[in-house]
Amino acid sequence: MSLDSLPFLFAFLPISAIAVHVLRSRYGLAPAQFALLGLSLVYYAAEDRRGLPVLLVSILWNWGMGMRIDAGRSESARRRALWIGIVGNVLLMSLFKYADITAWFLRSLERTTGLAFGNAGLMPLGLTFFSLTMIMYLLDIYERLQKPFALPRVAILTSFFATITAGPLLRSRKFASALDEIGVEASLDSRLLSAMILLSIGLVKKVVIAGSLALLVDPGFAHARSLSVTEAWASAFGWALQLYFDFSGYSDLACGVALLLGLSIVNNFNAPFRASTLSSFWQGWHISLTTFITTYLYTPLLRSLGKPTLRSSAISTFLAMLLAGLLHGATWTYVAFYALHGFGLATYHYWKSLKRPLPDVAGVAITFVFTAMTMVVFRAPTLGVAGDMFGSMFDLSHGFGLSTFTGLVAGADWRAIAVPCLLAPWMAFVGPTSAELAQRQMPPVRVFAFSGAAILLCAAYMISGTETSFIYRAF
């Protein structure tokens, strides 16, 4: 029952929205908030019953550590409690992300103690997102920007069903004030219209566009070695667009779902492929994670190196991105992706210091091509497959035909693929963003007609089986 599934859209979401609004208007804020918590736990149990104990452990741990930090009588006691809290979250993530190391450790423990520990199991849903959200919560308490929350509020912040699968990462301070406004009648009408726009655009992006691009990209990557130069570049560009529409579509859905409940949350994307520099690409891509990396990895690293210089910035950027790669998981392809971006960002800072700015068009083209190439590394199951794809992209002896491609996707309906594939570049590079559309004042009739048509189109795609699973769910 993910956010783009029919049971969620036509049953869970309307029931949740009505329950929250009715409880708020008839019984007040607390019952509405408790309903939101109950619904979030039900959603999590339906999505990942096995992961629920891990979520509950995280809630209790961070609630306790938040109070411990706040109660610290000295700065060193507060700092110690903060680090214990952070290490707990990092260990919880590592337990599942570094499953091979965990399994080795458990087997060693079994040999030593004679007890059976079993295995850590699959990654719980949203582990990275709720762990990072909680680390920021603890840091805010340590920096005296936030008082500790009561247990139910920590539980809602951790488990909120709109954002649990793929973010955006929530700032506790902003979320707390939004939580106190859920279901407020005064702004309901405009929020409802914005929510409908975000939900329908998010669905079209995720189900129609990303789903259709996958029909080209998946076979392309499966036969990376035998593609022509044209096919290899088309697969690489197609994958960059697929990842963008999949992830930003899901983020639009998350914002739309939250708005429907009366909660405003941050937008996680802002037209990243229109960026003319790599730095501005990251300011528009997975914004909440970029903010986390900049604030809590890059800045402390830079501060620790003394006066900010080009050299210390390059080192900090590279290290911060490398840490972000390790955070993603124990796969060399993720580490390589972030390391390449760290190197790219450092190079950009150096280029900027030369004061020879490129024309915007050239900047956009270079940024997109670099990003698409690095995303090949992100997508490939191994660095070897990424190497095969680069081989096909740059080895002119592979020719420029489309014979492999047409053979591979022969079973697919080209008409169903062609329109979204043409629409994708327009939406990514030229058209209005979903946030811009959601802020436009449009007549309700037009919004409902547009949303209705979009949702019906997506339902048709879902029923026909074109839909693909959400890519970032794996994190």
Partner: protein, 79 residues
């Protein structure tokens, strides 16, 4: 506020290496050339030194424009 803005002018000129630059409270990374993540941290470091204040990490992301910076400097100095 005007006094703070006046004291910020040479900091921006120096950090962004633009001697003639004049910034206003509405300016941000979107409107001032060269004000990116590196420049932002350098500006923060220089401002902390000039005004003898210390920004928490969690506050940095909320400094979206110069007006936000001025308001936070004022809060820190009076608080």
């Amino acid at each position: 506020m005007d006094n703070i803005l006046e004291r910020l002018q040479p900091i921006f000129q120096d950090v962004l290496d633009q001697p003639g630059l004049q910034v206003s409270a509405e300016d941000s990374g979107q409107t001032v050339a060269g004000w990116d993540s590196l420049a932002h941290i350098s500006l923060v470091a220089a401002i902390e030194h000039e005004f003898k204040v210390r920004f928490a990490l969690g506050e940095l992301e909320e400094l979206k424009n110069l007006g936000d910076m001025i308001a936070l400097i004022q809060t820190k100095r009076t608080g």
